[in-house]
């Protein structure tokens, strides 16, 4: 079940076409992705057919159409990171999580994504996990980085 986006839709009462992308961004921020249902509701709010909403949403790399895991793992594949070995980092993550980019690990904890450039090139190679930056990453560090988040997830489960 997708989280309720009524509050977001209400904010965009009377909005025009130029609010489509901010609205999509707000929905994704709350739900983690843009569902089929959300596309319909957004189209209704802005008086746009679903095809137009999909046409815009699928154009941009930012929008996801599948739910995400608890932690979004983004691997930067910019030039500086590439020169400093980010291809191996991506491979190591794919092996450790057993997923292709765009998919979520079987335990639902990690979604792996590739981004074009995070902008922290001085600290290449860079990955982010759940919004936190990890600089100068090596394939050897991957397991311990992922483990720290697994422990964190366990701790959160226990506390809740």
């Amino acid at each position: 079940m997708m989280p309720d986006i009524t509050a977001i839709l209400d904010k965009y009462e009377g909005a025009g076409r130029d609010q489509l992308i901010p609205l999509l961004q707000d929905v994704q921020e709350q739900c983690g992705y843009v569902s089929k249902e959300a596309v319909g509701l957004i189209g209704a709010r802005l008086n746009l057919p679903r095809s137009k909403v999909y046409g815009v949403a699928t154009f941009y790399n930012q929008f996801r159409f599948k739910p995400v895991g608890r932690y979004l793992v983004q691997v930067c594949r910019g030039t500086a990171c590439h020169v400093k070995g980010s291809a191996k980092i991506l491979e190591a993550l794919q092996a450790a999580l057993r997923v292709e980019p765009g998919d979520t690990s079987p335990d639902g904890l990690f979604t792996l994504e590739v981004v074009a450039c995070i902008g922290a090139c001085g600290l290449a190679p860079v990955i982010t996990v759940g919004g936190e930056f990890h600089a100068k990453v090596t394939p050897e560090k991957i397991d311990s980085i992922l483990d720290s988040y697994r422990k964190k997830a366990e701790a959160d489960e226990r506390d809740s």
Binding site: I21, Q25, Q62, V83, C117, C121, G122, F133, H134
Partner: protein
């Protein structure tokens, strides 16, 4: 409201003038009343652990009860030295320390606040008027990273609190804007900027003042200013640092530009991957609005301006003017043919000026110091400074601002400190996916818009990625083509189909021999011969800059690194040892102990050998994954 609003100045008494000076001094932090600690918490700082640094500093202050203020600042630009922590004691110059991770904070503060700096590596001390210098402490402005820099755009970054409007104003901020509103016509402002020689810093290099004049001349009921903060070039992070470290400079630049062209609405189109920059910018806009520097009837001049933020959604092509405009309009980010140019018909069909962050951030400095001072820096055709983002295989990665005309050799070897790990220089990639690679023999080219074109490159937005001899230039060309292919909007055939073909040709070149049929070999040769012609067609017929410059990395590497291509194509070898399919793995029987680790890790069962005897790799089974190299404890696996 600014703090002085609730402490009205009584302008009749002598004490008031002194109070003004006192308050200004307090905001400028020239001579501080009590010890200050500054921590660089820009994105690079945080990535290097500055979050822990600042937390430990706060904990230390609470524990010791010391009378010390802590201020968070942006990036000074030396990413390789992050996290950075500065200490300023009353009467003395501010001192900067490097690589101050959380675990080092307490020890540093215990001693540094007594003036004892021996415990931590230092960058050096600043050089402000009226403060005493520390003996035996080097000056930052003499450090090789800083000595060539002329910081106009980065003047405040890493120094000031980016969330303090007061500090920005106390250092002369918004004075240029106020001056312009009171004493200059729009035409005069456009002319001033034109005379300075400022050219678009996003990469286009179009004369800024001239562009503004076109928009000013256009008649319309509404005009727009857009600041392009999409910074899509991988390897570029100049704009991010400016917005995180000194957002008011950008706001002031935008305000002047909007006034000059007659726009009452402005947008900052900023990539979503910059959350900290977005937060800082939002705050700066709110602060400026609260004090009346934005909004309705600014400073009683009759000029209105509202600035809104639009977040990008991850599309490199939206760095292109018309694609950006469509994105703001809520459409797919696809470019359109020009003319009409945005200055005539742009956002919502109205006259629109789009300027890069760095271009706009230059404006307050030019107005404050004078267009002559700006034009005195640089070369004949390219005035002023340029901010470069230095990254890759170079010792001192970070942001540098140097006058145009500085050579690449100076930037890479003097400012950047050269190639680490004892490796050799191979190339520097400049201009992002639209740019080219500069080999060793052209390192003395003086950087300006025209001179770089002569060697097959462009300045671009300022990203400079240094590559050592372990980089394969064919792989670099493929990397860029892969990026361009995935970012191509698909609208025009030359780009959509042409770049796909170029990528195919490049992938064929690096594909392992074993996977090729005879027909494919023939196609490989044909493809290579086609590449030059194909590149020309794509360049000459694509709809927008993305397609028109897509062939540049290939053309530039073909031009300067032809032997490397030939080695791949004819000898089926990758000299740099990067292209997995073309690297031959061999186990040295003299070193191999027969531990069988490699055989176990081989995904293709290509390694044979009995335990305790030397192992052997079957070349035609090997898939080139490199696992054996990584896993061998004796270094017995070599590549060739």
């Amino acid at each position: 409201m600014a703090r002085w609003a609730d402490d009205p100045l009584d302008l009749d008494g002598v004490h008031s003038a002194e109070r003004v000076v006192e308050r200004l001094n307090e905001y400028r932090r020239n001579d501080v009343p009590r010890a200050m600690i500054f921590v660089g918490t820009g994105t690079c700082g945080l990535g290097a652990g500055a979050g822990a640094t600042v937390a430990e500093a706060r904990a230390w202050v609470e524990r010791t009860g010391a009378d010390v203020d802590i201020v968070e600042v942006g990036c000074i630009g030396l990413c390789a030295a992050e996290p950075m922590l500065d200490v300023q004691l009353p009467g003395y110059q501010r001192v900067s320390f490097v690589r101050v991770t959380g675990d080092k904070v307490a020890a540093l503060l215990d001693r540094a606040l007594q003036g004892d700096f021996a415990v931590q590596s230092m960058l050096g001390q600043f050089r402000r008027d009226g403060l005493a210098a520390w003996p035996d402490v080097p000056f930052i402005d003499e450090h090789p990273f800083f000595v060539h820099q002329r910081r106009w755009v980065l003047a405040n970054c890493g120094i000031v609190d980016p969330e303090s409007l007061d500090e920005y104003i106390a250092r002369g901020g918004y004075r240029a804007f106020a001056n312009v509103l009171r004493t200059r016509t729009r035409e005069e402002v456009c002319e001033l900027i034109d005379q300075s020689g400022l050219r678009g810093r996003g990469g286009g290099g179009f004369p800024t003042g001239r562009k503004w004049k076109y928009a000013l001349a256009a008649q319309a009921d509404q005009k727009y200013l857009i600041c392009n903060a999409d910074e899509g070039d991988p390897g570029a992070f100049m704009d991010r640092a400016v917005i995180e470290g000194d957002p008011h400079r950008l706001v002031e630049g935008m305000a002047v530009a909007a006034y000059a062209i007659g726009a009452s609405k402005a947008y900052v189109y900023i990539r979503a991957e910059y959350p900290l920059a977005i937060r800082r910018l939002k705050r700066a806009l709110a602060q400026a609005g609260e004090i009346g520097l934005l909004g309705y009837n600014i400073l009683d001049s009759g000029f209105n301006l509202d600035i809104a933020i639009k977040k990008g959604a991850g599309a490199f092509v939206c760095g292109e003017e018309t694609a950006l405009i469509h994105s703001i309009e809520g459409k797919r980010g696809m470019p359109r043919p020009r003319p009409p140019f945005p200055a005539q018909r742009g956002l919502f069909d109205r006259p629109t000026i789009i300027n890069n962050v760095e271009t706009l951030a230059n404006v307050p400095g030019i107005l404050a110091r004078g267009s002559d001072a700006f034009a005195a820096l640089g070369t004949q055709s390219s005035k002023g400074t340029k901010v470069f983002a230095l990254s890759g295989n170079v010792d001192r990665t970070g942001l540098v601002e140097v006058p145009m005309g500085t050579t690449l050799r100076q930037i890479v070897f003097e400012v950047g400190g050269g190639i680490p790990d004892g490796r050799a220089y191979k190339a520097v990639q400049i201009g992002g996916p639209s740019g080219g690679c500069i080999p060793e023999q052209h390192l003395d080219v003086e950087i300006d818009y025209e001179s770089l074109k002569a060697v097959g490159a462009i300045i671009g937005s300022g990203g400079l990625v240094v590559m050592d001899d372990h980089t394969c230039m064919v792989d670099v060309a493929r990397f860029f083509m892969e990026f361009i292919q995935s970012e191509s909007c698909g609208k025009c055939i030359p780009c959509r189909e042409g770049t796909r073909r170029m990528l195919e040709i490049l992938e064929r070149i690096i594909r392992p021999r074993r996977e090729e049929t005879r027909l494919e070999t023939l196609e490989r040769f044909q493809g290579v011969m086609e590449m030059q012609r194909l590149a020309e067609v794509i360049r000459d017929t694509s709809l927008c800059g993305l397609g028109q410059t897509a062939p540049n990395p290939v053309l530039s590497t073909l031009r300067w690194f032809r032997e490397e291509y030939e080695a791949h194509v004819f000898e089926r070898k990758c000299p740099a040892g990067v292209c997995r399919g073309l690297v031959e793995y061999r186990i040295d029987p003299k070193i191999c102990r027969g531990c069988t680790l490699c055989a176990k890790k081989c995904p293709a069962q290509a390694i044979m050998g009995a335990p305790k005897s030397p192992h052997y790799i079957l070349a035609d089974k090997c898939v080139g994954c490199g696992n054996c190299v990584d896993v061998c404890p004796f270094g017995a696996v070599t590549t060739e």
